[in-house]
């Protein structure tokens, strides 16, 4: 059965800290890996990773994928209180005629002032 596992489940840090969130996966027919940020309801898209070793960067956030070891990390530097959210990792798998997203449980990040 396809699965995506995120760690840690929750994390409390202080403003200015750097955090690393982990995502490992075991799926058949891997297409790509996505990171989303969920603050209240709608997950908002952060990154899509399809190739190993190529870092994606957006401001203080960056992410990289290792397709050999089947994991990805999301780094947030100089954290701010506005980074507090659930960070979801999802893998797109090909199943029959189309693709679908398989999500991990998420990492709840709390950034304290």
């Amino acid at each position: 059965e396809d699965k995506v596992v995120q760690s840690p489940l929750s994390l409390v840090v202080h403003e200015g800290d750097t955090v690393t969130l982990n995502c490992s996966y075991e799926v058949t027919n891997f297409r790509s890996l996505l990171w989303y940020k969920q603050e209240k309801k709608a997950p908002t898209f952060l990154f899509m990773l399809t190739s190993s070793g190529i870092e994606k960067k957006s401001g203080r956030l960056s992410s990289i994928l290792d397709k050999k070891e089947l994991f990805s990390i999301l780094n947030i530097t100089a954290t701010q209180t506005g980074d507090s959210a659930i960070y979801l990792c999802a893998v797109i798998t090909y199943g029959g005629a189309t693709n679908k997203l398989i999500f991990g449980t998420g990492t709840l990040l709390a950034v304290q002032p």
Partner: protein, 116 residues
């Protein structure tokens, strides 16, 4: 450009009742997927609709059914509600050609369903 819109935002139903949730995809998108997110969990894939047909389905019972209309909007129906159906229901829209190459989906704000 409106993003993905869902209605209603909140809903309270009684066990055994039926519910219909609605989703309008982002302009230009033709594919709609539905997810159930229980408290403390990641979203779980329910099914995906394209060209008014269910294209793929997750591990959900037949009580969960859906429909897609010619304007690409979609409905999720749940019959014989159980307490365990209480969750945030998310709709995601995308373009099928993007879906097939593994592109990202855009999510609506969700419908919070509470079954009492």
């Amino acid at each position: 450009d409106a993003g993905v819109t869902q209605s209603p935002t909140h809903l309270i139903k009684t066990r055994g009742q039926q519910v219909t949730l609605r989703c309008s995809p982002k302009s230009g998108h033709d594919t709609v997927s539905w997810y159930q997110q229980a408290l403390g969990q990641g979203p779980q894939f329910i099914f995906q609709y394209y060209e008014e047909e269910e294209r793929q389905r997750g591990n959900f019972p037949d009580r969960f059914s859906g429909h897609q209309f010619p304007n690409y909007s979609s409905e999720l129906n749940v019959n014989a509600l159980l307490l365990g159906d209480s969750a945030l229901y998310l709709c995601a829209s995308s373009l099928m050609r993007g879906v097939l190459r593994g592109a990202e989906a855009f999510f609506g704000q969700g419908t919070r369903l509470t079954v009492v």
